[in-house]
Symmetry: D2
Subunit: 246 residues, 4 copies
């Protein structure tokens, strides 16, 4: 599909990446190069215009470069793994609360049948909506601006849950109730203290508990000088997985 006005495009120049809306009158400078956006219209993806490669953005690029954030997002390196660990598929209903900027929901909604999502803060609620609309994502997501504590949902209703709040221990009893028997639970927590507290609150409610961290180590893609990059992200969060027991 050739690029049309209004498309979101990824521009790659050396190791720089930009995600932009394709607007006729816009142009972008990097070092001494200029790319005029009108020169992109009608071109196929993969073309180079004045030293910039023009591509369709992937979901990861939309999230990392195109989502507005007011808080720490769940990074794709974590949410891609969580999505599969939750056993999502088109016949599954996911509960998510603590939606934030909507980054993880955008990932889960691709595998899940439907997502029931809750966000307590109105500004985050609006932001998630906006991020999804921008990239036409999350059509199968029901988002409410509500503390999940006050959500009126049936028992044994959800096939899986992802929790991203500061104090998941406060919600753990309710989470347990609304999950189906044996259903997977996942959360991400920045500190070791939170993990300890959560694990204590999960005893007698959940089984098959796993705690892990995911580290991505990026390399400089130079064939004659292959080596890791100088710095890397050392920590986004501890992931905790478990299954509802009876």
């Amino acid at each position: 599909m050739n690029f049309r006005e209004g498309d979101y495009i990824l521009l790659v120049c050396e190791d720089r990446r930009y995600l932009k809306a394709l607007t006729k009158d816009f142009s972008l400078n990097y070092k001494e190069r200029v790319i005029r956006f009108e020169d992109i219209i009608g071109k196929e993806p993969g073309h180079s215009v004045n030293g910039f490669y023009v591509l369709n953005p992937t979901l990861e690029e939309m999230i990392l470069l195109g989502f507005q954030r007011k808080t720490q997002i769940v990074y794709p390196k974590d949410s891609f793994y969580i999505a599969y660990k939750l056993g999502l598929s088109k016949d599954k209903r996911l509960l998510e609360f603590g939606v934030g900027s909507g980054a993880s929901t955008a990932v889960f909604s691709q595998l899940a049948g439907e997502v029931w999502a809750y966000e307590i803060r109105e500004d985050f609620y609006r932001l998630a909506k906006k991020n999804w609309e921008k990239f036409d994502l999350c059509k199968n997501v029901r988002l409410e601006n509500l503390d999940f504590m006050f959500a009126d949902v049936e028992e044994n209703f959800f096939d899986a849950v992802f929790v991203d709040v500061k104090e998941p221990t406060l919600y753990i009893q309710k989470v347990w109730r609304v999950l189906k028997f044996g259903a997977p639970f996942a959360t991400i927590l920045p500190t070791a203290n939170q993990v300890s507290n959560l694990l204590k609150s999960m005893e007698n409610l959940f089984c098959n508990v796993e705690v892990l961290e995911i580290l991505h180590r990026p390399y400089k893609p130079n064939p004659d000088r292959l080596r890791p990059q100088d710095t890397m992200t050392a920590h986004t969060g501890y992931l905790v997985f478990a299954r509802k027991r009876i």
Copy 2:
């Protein structure tokens, strides 16, 4: 859904996990405990029978505990990430060659619309088929027992590709031809030398090249003694991602 004879079940006892077919006359011993499989039939997931929790296996558990292997598999920690990096969705057609035991295909087929898969060795071809049938997976996969070099496919036909062969450089020109413009490429390679060689062969054909490793660091889930496990997997492979350029 209550367990019925013939279901695959995950049994969890302390830090041991077993994936078994639920066969009436079978039983399992661990330390001094015995679990008789007939006692599981009719129970809901999440129940504990004689110290064993009984659960429905997730895709990761099917692959790690239930797939037969004759070769190194692509681990879920890697394939879950690759699946999303390839931008798969229900309207996308994936090419995969070097299918091996079929572990990565089982992951990709969940996000993709269809997968065209090639495996050169007949024993691996049969094994992948068998693994998928066992768990009722990969209905949208066309698997051929053929070296992809001899596959008769149109140019600009695939939306994404995953390559898992020893010498991807031999295939790189053909891979380029059959991909749509701007489409994502992914591979996994065990050695740094292979990465160097591949990167050289990709110059002038691909852009937006990324090389990275994914490390999972598991913890002992003890709330009063939280700490990483003693050992971890140090390496499965280097991941290389890129996009077809023109």
Copy 3:
């Protein structure tokens, strides 16, 4: 120096390493190879005898292959770093308690002027002595079989301290008193909970606090197939460093 009877030798065959006393009548088998120890006597280090390379062991090899252990030792990867972080030199007096098998003391004693060491358990006290005598180490170490809590030492006496006990918080006040002003403190702790507790107890007593982990990632040394080994040690302990404040 050519090998003589009674020397300790390191034998290297492919990726196997053995540390042995050079005893005339002894021999060693690996796969189909036999090395008779009498053939080693008089040889220079670096010689190969029947496929085994014969070397003088380094301190790391003595500790990892030659020290008897009754408990988890402080690994050289950690103690080599700690030794320098403690700012040890020939005019410095180190306090160490929780000596265990004596592995870390053997490292510190090389850089320090003298080491005052305490071990509460008599079996460990004897074991450390035995390990040091075996390799003629730790001549500058005064080891007492005593809980450091009951040690009679002056205030502001030590230039540095290394603590390796389960509950360092119990000792932190006394440690503070016997250290010189501004002197470095180090410890190693297996769990995150212990680190949290220790950090709390150090407030108002220590400054310049650092917490870190050291990870060693070993590679297979094959020039044509360079890659990390399959597994690695994921955790030995969290290191905590600080300086006595006033």
Copy 4:
């Protein structure tokens, strides 16, 4: 020892660290705090002056904060480990070439009896000298402004060697000749390609080859919110160790 004019001091304020010469008329600002250096004179280490803790710098702090650099240095995390792996002690003679800013030499000289050091570039040679003089280090080091290729040294002369040059393969034969039998070799190399090349050149000359990376993962030292820092150094270099064989 109380601080006197001319001493080098480490100033610690929250998570900032400064290494300074104690000069009467100097002062330092951080946020809204001012520390006047004349207020430090006569104080004991560990004192806090206006929110800054004043300490004697350790060797690591001298290197990281006080050494001038014109090139990438060998980081203490690596050189502390290398020093011990080289089996250095007061009766050992170390060869080092590619001295650069002199950071690694400052570490090795503490354990070794003497160090024979070579640096090809005159500007680096002067810089290393200057860094050592500043902190009164490396009295047992003989530094020559010379390519080691042209150094006139006896065979079987050195007890250990550390090499830090771009193309160690060019020197490997000479290194072999000047080492004693069985003596340890160490180097650090930034790229995987260099490691492959070096390993090839070492075949038949060295045994007991090890390749590894050292990763330090720093934590935020907050007892109630213990967690790794956001970013970490991902790579300084691959370490290669071996022993001279015959």
